[in-house]
Symmetry: D2
Subunit: 422 residues, 4 copies
Amino acid sequence: MSISLEKLIQWRREFHQFPETGWSEFWTTSKIADYLSEIGFEILLGKQIINPDFVRGRSQAVVEKGIKRAKEYGANPKWLEKMEGYTGCVAVFDSGKPGKTVALRFDIDCVDVAETKDPNHRANQLGFASLNEGEMHACGHDGHITIGLGVAHWLMEHKDKLTGKVKIVFQPAEEGVRGAAAIAASGIIDDANYFAGSHISFCANSGTVLANPRNFLSTTKVDIRYKGKSAHAGAAPHLGQNALLAAAHAVTQLHGISRHGEGMTRINVGVLKAGSGRNVIPSEAEIKLEVRGENKAINQYMADQVMQIAQGVATSFGVTYETEIMGEAVDMVNDAELVELIKEIAITQPQVHSSDQDYAFNASEDATILGRRVQDNGGKAIYFIIGANRTAEHHQAEFDFDEEQLLTGVNIYTALVERLLA
Amino acid sequence: MSISLEKLIQWRREFHQFPETGWSEFWTTSKIADYLSEIGFEILLGKQIINPDFVRGRSQAVVEKGIKRAKEYGANPKWLEKMEGYTGCVAVFDSGKPGKTVALRFDIDCVDVAETKDPNHRANQLGFASLNEGEMHACGHDGHITIGLGVAHWLMEHKDKLTGKVKIVFQPAEEGVRGAAAIAASGIIDDANYFAGSHISFCANSGTVLANPRNFLSTTKVDIRYKGKSAHAGAAPHLGQNALLAAAHAVTQLHGISRHGEGMTRINVGVLKAGSGRNVIPSEAEIKLEVRGENKAINQYMADQVMQIAQGVATSFGVTYETEIMGEAVDMVNDAELVELIKEIAITQPQVHSSDQDYAFNASEDATILGRRVQDNGGKAIYFIIGANRTAEHHQAEFDFDEEQLLTGVNIYTALVERLLA
Amino acid sequence: MSISLEKLIQWRREFHQFPETGWSEFWTTSKIADYLSEIGFEILLGKQIINPDFVRGRSQAVVEKGIKRAKEYGANPKWLEKMEGYTGCVAVFDSGKPGKTVALRFDIDCVDVAETKDPNHRANQLGFASLNEGEMHACGHDGHITIGLGVAHWLMEHKDKLTGKVKIVFQPAEEGVRGAAAIAASGIIDDANYFAGSHISFCANSGTVLANPRNFLSTTKVDIRYKGKSAHAGAAPHLGQNALLAAAHAVTQLHGISRHGEGMTRINVGVLKAGSGRNVIPSEAEIKLEVRGENKAINQYMADQVMQIAQGVATSFGVTYETEIMGEAVDMVNDAELVELIKEIAITQPQVHSSDQDYAFNASEDATILGRRVQDNGGKAIYFIIGANRTAEHHQAEFDFDEEQLLTGVNIYTALVERLLA
Amino acid sequence: MSISLEKLIQWRREFHQFPETGWSEFWTTSKIADYLSEIGFEILLGKQIINPDFVRGRSQAVVEKGIKRAKEYGANPKWLEKMEGYTGCVAVFDSGKPGKTVALRFDIDCVDVAETKDPNHRANQLGFASLNEGEMHACGHDGHITIGLGVAHWLMEHKDKLTGKVKIVFQPAEEGVRGAAAIAASGIIDDANYFAGSHISFCANSGTVLANPRNFLSTTKVDIRYKGKSAHAGAAPHLGQNALLAAAHAVTQLHGISRHGEGMTRINVGVLKAGSGRNVIPSEAEIKLEVRGENKAINQYMADQVMQIAQGVATSFGVTYETEIMGEAVDMVNDAELVELIKEIAITQPQVHSSDQDYAFNASEDATILGRRVQDNGGKAIYFIIGANRTAEHHQAEFDFDEEQLLTGVNIYTALVERLLA
């Protein structure tokens, strides 16, 4: 017997009310840890699951604000301490019997959107709207957490019938593709034989499951910061080291990175901020950019060129620089065996009528980093989409989704685990 | 009999308490108008003295904030209306007898500096510190206004002995060299035979008058704004028109403007802001720059190149652009006759012991625009410096100056007028 | 009865001995005109077949050298005069009976390669090596001309059995994709219902015909020339207008042309030459570039950006500029009906054992401009490859090909015409 | 008794007939060595006087051509061997008595100008025109050599009356300011207490000696070469390393080197050549540039920036690079003592009527490198101009000068030596 839809909805609405932006999910993580430790899961936190060298796009200010708020909201201090400043957790189910290991991934962060005040919006009607101004679960990750909890409950209920292990990864900071790299690099899923992740709603309505989305875009998000020396632009311009001029030249070089003969590439410098006053040689400049590539190798070519240019320009202008990878995702091809399994499982769900549509994802998801980690270790991976009607597009203030599909999600995952581990 | 030092100090401290940043001097202007209309001056305001086409660096938000605040502080609505949104005034003294016309210029704006909270700072001790947070008369323009008022009073007291006219220009927005061009272009001092302006303190201590500073730098301050079209950097980069990329190329071109064979030039892009999001082709970019030249012609060469580049880059990238001149000053050579007069007059002041030092100004002052306007019309012009000890450098939060030199200032101006018009 | 292989070989060797680079094929054109007018073809020349506005990459020096040499080699003055300086001809076959019109295209220029002196090279052994130093038929166009002549003879022999018309286009300047645009724009094949062109050898060996090569690359070749004003770099740099600096900025902008969301693009500035002396502001600069696109529209997007940048940079630097399109080709999709016909016809040739291989052309051919012209007018077009063993790759000094395949070529074309017009 | 004018003229015309461009003066050097060794001078050659690490702008091809030609013209093989490939010599006069050391410098190269064929040109009339096509003593260095020889003869004649030593430096490659650095760096004049050098004619007519030209421009001439990797621009642009693109970016950065607050600067990229074919990623690029500065330090600032940019751009684009200093000169201020001496001496010459004019040189001369070397070692230096009427400006095909002033030159130098060493 699976968990009830009512329970799933209750969870979903609780998490909806406390949305936390990437790397600040301290309340969310502690709540998940509370729920799953209670029913017997081992909870791994902090550097057990996060390799700090691969943490992307994490601001100290956001972290501190998150910790402070989580404490105010009554997060369990035990978990907060174990987190060591890093959000997310891995809940480990061990059947006690030898067998395969399955890794499931659910992302837990919200987006930086202020939830609509429209009284007709369900969260407003029913009183579960975001309490955190400017933050909102407008991408359905509240649903993802919920499905993860539902699966966890099922696992414990069916422990006797199962073999091997399940590692449920509650991943922080998926928005901006920031969180997966650090979890992958921690090695925590290196023993997994199977990996599965999913998105709810997205482009698919209730009744459709997209078992095999293709064309995940590889991308790397990079910030470049130049630091020079200010000087009076009239009296002593030669004493300055011009960070703004360096940044401008970097932009012109970055956009000139050569096309790649083997596939699509993209480069965009989306933001440039430099200088403080009109008559001062600017000493600081910041560039926010992203590159993309048709596959992981081509994307890496682009990222390598970016790093080379960042350094070369610093040399030219006698300024210091730092680069920070703010996010990354790769391409991934679902394994045929898992695709077939999900197709079969999905179509048997009462509300699902289609599971074999072709679909080009054409966007980035950092679950791919986890999936390819498993594949590179000889395992199999899949990422699929659980259709659900929505009231607005993802990331919009009016977003809501068909909560009944939470149950569809739990059922697909549990059936998958059953097929792999029973 | 001249005005008393006590009265001058009282005025200075009153204006010190109500500092207003450039183009927001509504309270200041109305107060000046109050004082001088009472004693018989004709007060010219608004478009009588401002040519809107040559207004530089005036933000509508600052203007509105200034008007609102002036009303709250009880500024005379009659003047506010006549100002037509433009601050500053010209107070006209007419002796009723034929004669020469003398234009005197006093600048009235403050700087965007928060006054120190140090209890030892005189304004804090005596309770006349700035009431306007973030604004402060830290450049001595409160003293300039005061000297202007003192001279005005002297004129009315000596009306019978004088011939011709005196136009006292209370100029807005000297900081950033923004206000003079619009006054010059209004033609209001086109009948002047003589022009005089000055700065208090600056680099000279009490006892020194610098009668002939040289090497005023010509400069033009320009903002360039590019507007393109945003597009998704992954899906449809070709649909964007990249304002950030345009701005970056503009910067690289601007810094490459050729040196001038006939004298010193400078170019500095001090601020660049562009783009909104990492994955969006940026649709907006703003550049804040300044050029300088050893003289007006060389500076104009630089400014012309800037305009050409602004346009060329817009064409290259298919974006629209606008340029706005945010400030300007020219070089000026004092007329020898007036220099000799000031030297003679100054050295006879009780507190002055030196008036013939050589001094390279090496900075920009937009009084030069007014001075050269008078010179171009066949008149004579001078800009000099009235030494005064100071507690900190100009534009610093701890700035204060030796108030006794206000009287020195008034006395020099009145003696000058006496020599020219009596 | 078709023409004999011996005759074909004789023609091929004659043309091999007199290779002429693009737009200088005066001897070649007059020889073709001689042969075909003799057997009853109407010969169209000069502006009858060339629209001068669309002539690409034609240098006056090369034209003059070509005319002079053709005269020395005894070219018929009548044809030379009618050519009006433009090489190439269209030989018109009219059956006298109503019917379809078929356009066949054979390119006639050589490449700028010096033929090997190796005594084992057949042309050296048998004495038909190039007489024109530095020019050589190393791309097989001598074979193309020959096939065209062979087809022409067959047409006259089979006049009674045929309906409609055949226009045999002997196109100049295919190398650098320069000649087709001007012929297309002349309108000379606007009445064609069918178009066929081909290459001999290329990547295919004797026995293979590639009936349906795909992935023709669209490309535009452009020269940009900037003209400024020189000045002494020490004494008066501001008097210069720096063409070199303009060109350098153009290069940085050109390489930054945005990727296209809908397909592959390329940009390459292959050559840049500017300036005359180290201490002179450079007054002249020349850029040679090419763009490519996955299809005609995407290539046009690239070419449009190039033109925009060429102009914008000229404005920025106050220099004049000119752009010249030096070559162009488009993509083309063969019409299925003709592909099937060629497959069928080819496989029945005695020496051919394969005609249905998939092949990605991945290069540019300006026959596509002619083919798409016919398609745009509602006709059908094909470009195919007639396999032939070769002794070295195309464009190499040691290139030679299996002359027996000349007969294969003639037979395929004549069979095609038979199917279309008999 | 001094040498006769007739002898001087004979020498001058001999050297005029055999002009040799910089670093190819093998015949010239051997001839000087012949003359001066005969009368007792010690002749220093090759690496005794040239530090190869500081040789500027010397092409191996020019050297080889020079050696070959010198041999044909009968140059003494003994000297050729000792030269070790480096032209120029230092002739040492040792009085045998203790005393000061005086270094005198005469430059010996010609310019790359073809001498006029005008029959009225004296060299044509009298048959001493250049025998070396495209090379001509159009800058008067034939006169300089001659004066040096004249002084040498006088020294030997007056050996008994003199103390100390005289080192007569016959410097190669003054054109392009290439030769002095290597001689200075050899240390050969590090023992000199006095240095003198001069130019004949230049801007001054017969009768004028400019004893104290000021404003020598510091300059550094640099070539930058980038080497990348070629690749097919269509198929595999990502495999290329684009030297042309690197060079273009280098140019945009070089022209943006900041102005210097303490004085005039210049930058000019005068020549840029890159790339071989339109459709090939360019693998080679060459930049020829010069910088200037108001003084040695400011010029060095410019040169340092150039080197930094050359390196930075190479890093950005993954190409290798080399920089070569092709020439250099510094500023120099004549020592007052020597200026007074030359003024006194000059005005006593029969043909001279003026020796105290102010004159701004406003050009570069590498004698300054030698002069400052002596000054840096505690000695005194002067560079002066010996007026002489001319038939055309320097470096023009019609240039000739008033040969009578050769004697004026010799007399000034010998009088100077007499004052310093007698």
